[in-house]
């Protein structure tokens, strides 16, 4: 009881935080960056969205590039086939 014990009291949280942080700067986080899954957004019911809600605006911001890539009229013919898309067109059929 002793130095060793107090050291571990200090060292453990340090180890944890280093493990979870590793990089401090935002740029360094980019290495294992994920792309936003914007397909999920397309499946949402737009009439229920509140466009002035910051959460909604933030999501639109994240997906604006993606949204522009996919022209709705090309939906059936283009080859961007991924799972999110399939979900989306299923829902389209009910309209």
């Amino acid at each position: 009881m002793n130095k060793k014990f107090y050291m571990s009291l200090i060292a453990l949280p340090l180890v944890f935080s280093v493990m979870t942080v590793q990089a401090h700067s935002e740029a360094e986080h980019m290495e294992n960056a994920e792309d936003p899954n914007c397909e999920a957004m397309k499946g949402m019911d737009h009439s229920k969205m509140n466009m002035s809600d910051p959460v909604m605006v933030a999501m639109m911001e994240q997906c604006k590039d993606k949204m522009n890539d996919h022209h709705p009229e090309n939906n059936k013919s283009d080859s961007h086939g991924d799972e999110g898309k399939k979900k989306h067109s299923d829902q389209d059929d009910h309209h």
């Binding site: 986080h29 936003p36 899954n37 914007c38």
Partner: protein, 186 residues
């Protein structure tokens, strides 16, 4: 007569205090205390520690100036990405109910996905979260994030945490993704 009584009273008091002090020191060296994180405190100890924590934070955070633009979508995006990288392992994200950290740490990190805003004073709520993130909480797993992260980044996370409990898994993913290719935010 009265004088004699008083001196013996003080003598007893001092002997008692010295004995208590020596016992306390002896206890520290005895190794009898169980230090394991898997051995919870007595209720009274938990109460004492939580009261100490809350009074201390309330006092220390009372003068913090809260930015007026915490509702900015940009803050949610920056704070969300940082939260996902640095905090979700301990404080969870929508769709996860436990991690090794929530199971093993004592005190256990609260699930910020479930901790809805329930303080009557919104300013105090913001001040408290900002202070906790910036300074951490002593003798718990909660690190101080001030080293390496400026106040703005911390406010972004404060803003994000406020909305976190309402987010679905999909919303969380879109908001927190840094996006390899997107030129959006850095």
């Amino acid at each position: 007569m009265k004088f004699i009584k008083q001196t013996s009273y003080f003598k007893h008091l001092i002997i008692t205090l010295v004995t208590l002090f020596i016992t306390a020191i002896a206890f520290l060296y005895s190794g009898l205390y169980s230090m394991g994180a898997d051995d919870p405190h007595y209720d009274v100890t938990t109460w004492a520690l939580e009261t100490l924590r809350e009074s201390s934070i309330a006092r220390a955070s009372g003068d913090i100036q809260v930015p007026t633009d915490l509702n900015e979508p940009k803050r949610l995006l920056k704070g969300g990405a940082d939260y996902n990288d640095m905090c979700a392992g301990c404080h969870l994200k929508p769709g996860t109910n436990e991690t090794d950290f929530t199971l093993g740490l004592y005190p256990s990190p609260p699930a910020l996905t479930k901790l809805t805003f329930n303080m009557s004073d919104e300013t105090a709520y913001y001040q408290r979260n900002f202070w906790i993130i910036k300074h951490g909480i002593k003798a718990s797993g909660m690190p101080a994030w001030a080293p390496g992260h400026d106040d703005e980044r911390i406010w972004n996370m404060v803003a994000f945490i406020k909305r976190l409990p309402e987010l679905t898994e999909e919303q969380y993913q879109v908001i927190t993704a840094r996006g390899k290719s997107s030129s959006g935010h850095h």
